[in-house]
Amino acid sequence: MPNAKRPRVLIAKPGLDGHDRGAKIVARALRDAGFEVIFTGIRQRVEAIVATALQEDVAVVGLSILSGAHLGLTTRVVEGLRKAGAGDIAVVVGGTIPAADVPRLRAAGAAAVYPTGTPLDVIVPEIRTLASAQPGRHEETPCASA
């Protein structure tokens, strides 16, 4: 894709739960939509997710959590990014999220929340908007020699 600027997204699974079907489906849908996607695999420590987000210079971090531990884990990722001076990276959360927890996750710093059953046609354009809200950063520069 010459001259195309591809937004970079990290899809991450914090905690111990191994349900990665949703994370992988979203990762692939984003890739198909032209994003540069990094997937951490399951059982990632919060510190490792923050480090990867910085190292890969992503615009958005998508957390997938189905164990019920979403509030604590999301708070820790948001705080970790802020402490590392990367508070501009948007954090979105998907998984088995009770409706009552959506505003609590937003208050904890999540830019968007996608409970189970949210269509890809909703998720992908929203993440594109979040990613493009940061012009000039977190976009892959096309290789000149390509």
């Binding site: 739960d17 191994g18 349900h19 489906i25 399951i42 164990s67 884990l73 009770p98 059953g117």
Partner: protein, 539 residues
Amino acid sequence: MNDFAQTVQTGQSAEAAQTSSGLPLQPVYGPRDRQGEAEPPDPGRFPFTRGNYPNGYRGRLWTIRQYSGFGTAEDSNRRYRYLLGQGGTGLSVALDLPTQCGYDSDDPEVSDEVGRVGVAIDTLADVEVLFDEIPLDRISTSFTINGTAAILLACYVAAAERTGVPRDKLTGTIQNDILKEYASRGTWIWPPEPSLRLIGDTIEFCAAEVPKFNAISVAGAHFRDAGASAVQEMAFTLADGVTYCDTVLARGRMTIEQFAPQVSFFFYTHGDFFEEIAKYRAGRRRWATIVKERYHATSDKAAMFRFGCVSGGASLYAPQAQNNIIRVAYEAMASVLGGVQSMFTAAWDEPFALPSEESATLALRTQQILAYETGVARVADPLGGSYFVEALTDATEARIAEIMADLDAHGGMVRAIEDGYLQGLIADEAYRAHRDIEAGTRPVVGVNRFTTDEPAPDIQAYELDSEGRETQLKRLARIKAERDGAAVRTTLAELARAAEGTANLMEPLIDCARAYCTVGEMVTALKAVWGEFRQPAVF
């Protein structure tokens, strides 16, 4: 409500011409559709296409086994004693994720997950509380445990010993299937090679010391929930079964006859009715054929494919959630027509909550109505000889064999897991199914057809109350303070030393359990020798 007008469009469509796994279907089947295949022998006769037993379910109904376990050892012990008081004869233990992944409850990294999806076990002391006043010589216990299965088995044997129950009186099962953990369920710890060695150790230990205990339940269910199709689920599971048998036989200490009867299987039944029936009939025949042809087993008993299943799982949906009652009922019927030995029917509210007492009871009643009212259990393999079912069984078995041959050509299951090939196959299928549902080409009532605006029911995750967590942490702190520190160091050092060689690790693990080493300490000692699995992040 004018959605009902849609029925006109769904009568006959292109996608009805294949099963959900993509096997092509004719409009009608007749005697010429079996391509010269012989009629399958009677039920109870090799290769068991028509079931393991000549009288089907007349001699013995399938086992109705519902899964439960939560909170602290005290909470679960109370629940178990209640269930046994109501006439139950078996227990099914759910463990929390820290226990399954080898972390202790006081590890700060996992504090959010202690006691959340099952009971927390840190040391032998928790196991003693879990089974307090339960006669382990008369009650069979099934543990859904994999990465730390050998450690939990060691604790169980040690706990039984404390109450005077000898090893050969213990009955039950550990899941102990690590290969599917790497590709789907996720509670891996060490790399495949040492993990397979540890499974070999448990199989040999059980065959020699705990002969009434099933050392392994090879599970396809989790491939399915991760997105695999029905035929992939069966093919991947049989390929795992082959890998375990190869592992044990390569050690040269046992024959297939000695351990194969203690190997069982476990699956999900989803909604494509005839495909599920054909999956089980084909799987039974393929496994029996493999055991005879590849391992030259002489007894039919070694070749018998015994399986349990869950009806529900990823085939259930949150919108119009009570529709799940109907789905589970059809799935349960398909499982029985496929010849299942033991079944768990999921509750309709499973997609968004721990089942209520009411929904759990309804799930149980679903099986009881099937067993006692519908009459499907009266005659062995009632669909045997159906042009369609036999042809679909043949086609399913052929596709299973193709997938297994492809995995073989790739270098086997361990290789396919280490380089992410298997995970890629599952992710491809999951993505395809998801897109089909979103596009509406795979109809799901209440999700992409006949939808309504009713709000999705709210979910509430079960959380161990702070009192329960406190009980668990206090017991762990007390055990750590009171145990003999020298014995802990000695037994852990001996475990690590044994792990460096090839000796069976079960006795060193039992010694660690007796010394009240924690699950986390045993796991860490083995990590120091074996390292950790590095997951290929394929999507």
